[in-house]
Chain length 306, copies 2
């Protein structure tokens, strides 16, 4: 029973019974989704893909967090215009609510892909990303939120059934495989992009055991050969998109989480947690809370190609 | 600029600039306070004390989380009645908003003080308390929240100026000293109650070093001699209530936190974090985020005497 008592004069008393469901049939059960995007740049393709998602928009609330940088300010202007258009457009396209937050802390590093991915910059960058994700999460999560869909601002192509396809597996934490389209001598190809969804390896565990508690392990750097098997390399063309695999680390490009996992406390650690940070640290927290993360190696979503 | 655009038909677009302040003069700067209480039992004395707090009530939003137990249900009925009375009573007493949440998970242990404090029960109990605190925090924290005042449901006596007195120190995390009134042969006395506010000790650090990552250290148990110096024993009668001390662990009976510390991700770990859990784990997270917790040994608040 959800009662929102309204007295004549004083402020509303919200009184929620949070026995809401998160099921494999979220649309039938009218389960609310909070779709959250940290947004440093605005891509028209991201927005077009978002509006094409056919999970009922009246069940989707949008949340954005934008950095206080020149680039962030530019992205903010475009975002506001796009929001205004959809929220005053066709009724079925309108989302149940939109929250836009401007970060009150800075991101330390430059934004070109090469610089972003330099090893040294990564720890500071992902700590800042963690704080951005947590600020957005803590301030938008509601008592009636059933699912939290994390979608990066540069994911430009997904099936329109993304949310219900992932929710169908009814897992506490689940990620698709994030690839990137590119062309080689005029031939259209795809390649893996997000390497943060992986299965733990003994090598990586040994590495962690020798590290200081505050040091972090990062994927994709030859200086840190983790020998973890990465979901990015487990994709088998033509196989079922609903093939599952258990994971120990997850990426944040596209990530569906049952709201109670976050409500219990699983967040994106801005510091080393079991020598992991941000989305990989989040996966470890979810596991410490008794939840097993899953991945869909053959279910592809696409990252922008800079 | 805080703009809450209202189009005729579609849902409101919330667009917050969160450059809000948390200063040593919160009333002058109209800083909003979120007062959060995990509530298993309803004490009239707690409520009377709460209503007597003279921080402007239109700047205070209340949040409660109640367990789904027989005892919790009974407390819920009394809480609702008390809320109804104050929210329809004198204008200046009314709070800016009230959220009441019923937990969707169980608390494992009995509620008598003796059982609660048995060592074995403590880990499960404090993990459940962490999840309750996090669920309440994540769902009520707003973009415009400046301070989060944690106050246990059995804190029955504080100065009416509690919030502004603590905020005056302008610290990221600050706790008063939680004592208990009792009588001995008809003589009124006081004694320490909350032992979770402490200064780290080398003994405790050595103990942690030998422990498994998932084990936790708890204060006040002879089986675990931590030799930490406890703020509970640093109270000096007649000395200034604003005397400060730095802390490494904090209790949750009364705890004031700057909202950005939570928004950055500091929460109450329901699992061992540096072998610490719940409020003590929170203090460690705040430190990992670069914040130094403080305590006021001579500033007393009182816990109910069962
Ligand atoms: N709020 C916020 N979002 C950011 C910041 N930096 C990147 N982002 C967003 O966070 C997501 C991941 O960042 P990105 O640079 O694409 O990481 P990469 O794809 O791993 O190189 C994208 O949606 C970015 O738009 C930041 O400093 N603040
Ligand atoms: N929501 C919720 N609150 C609880 C639960 N158990 C205790 N509380 C509240 O949490 C606070 C601390 O619990 P309490 O039993 O007083 O701990 P102690 O004083 O350390 O023995 C009090 O405000 C209790 O009312 C629970 O299972 N769920
Ligand atoms: Mn990206
Ligand atoms: Mn108590």
């Amino acid at each position: 029973k959800s009662y929102s008592g309204s007295y004549d004069a004083p402020p509303v008393v919200h009184y929620y019974l949070n026995n809401l469901t998160t099921s494999s049939e979220p649309i039938k059960n009218r389960e609310k989704v909070l779709l959250l995007t940290p947004l440093a740049r605005f891509y028209d393709e991201y927005w077009a893909n978002l509006v094409k998602l056919n999970y009922p928009h009246d069940l989707i609330e949008l949340g954005f967090i934008v950095p206080k940088t020149r680039e962030g300010n530019a992205a903010l202007v475009k975002l506001e215009e796009a929001v205004r258009k959809v929220q005053t457009g066709k009724k079925k396209d309108r989302f149940s609510g939109v929250t836009i937050i401007r970060q009150d802390f800075d991101t330390p590093v430059a934004q070109s892909e090469k610089d972003r991915h330099a090893l040294a910059a990564q720890k500071a960058r992902r700590a800042a990303m963690s704080r951005a994700r947590n600020s957005l999460l803590y301030t938008t999560l509601g008592t009636d939120t059933a699912w939290v869909m994390w979608l990066d601002a540069d994911i430009v192509e997904t099936p329109p059934t993304l949310i219900q396809d992932l929710a169908k597996h009814d897992r506490a934490v689940i990620v698709p495989n994030c690839f990137q389209r590119y062309a080689e001598n005029g031939v259209k190809k795809v390649r893996p992009y997000d390497f943060n969804s992986w299965h733990e390896s003994n090598d990586a565990l040994d590495m962690a055991a020798k590290m200081g508690r505050d040091e972090i392990i990062l994927e994709g750097y030859k200086e840190m050969a983790t020998w973890r098997s990465l979901m990015a390399y487990e994709r088998q063309e033509g196989q079922s998109i609903h093939t599952e695999t258990t994971l120990d680390g997850v990426g944040g490009t596209a990530l569906l989480v049952k709201a109670e996992v976050h409500r219990d406390g699983a967040m994106f650690p801005p510091f080393a947690f079991y020598n992991l940070i941000e989305t990989e640290g989040f996966a470890k927290m979810a596991k410490r809370l008794g939840h097993q993360p899953y991945g869909l190696p053959n279910y592809l979503v696409y990252h922008y190609n800079e």
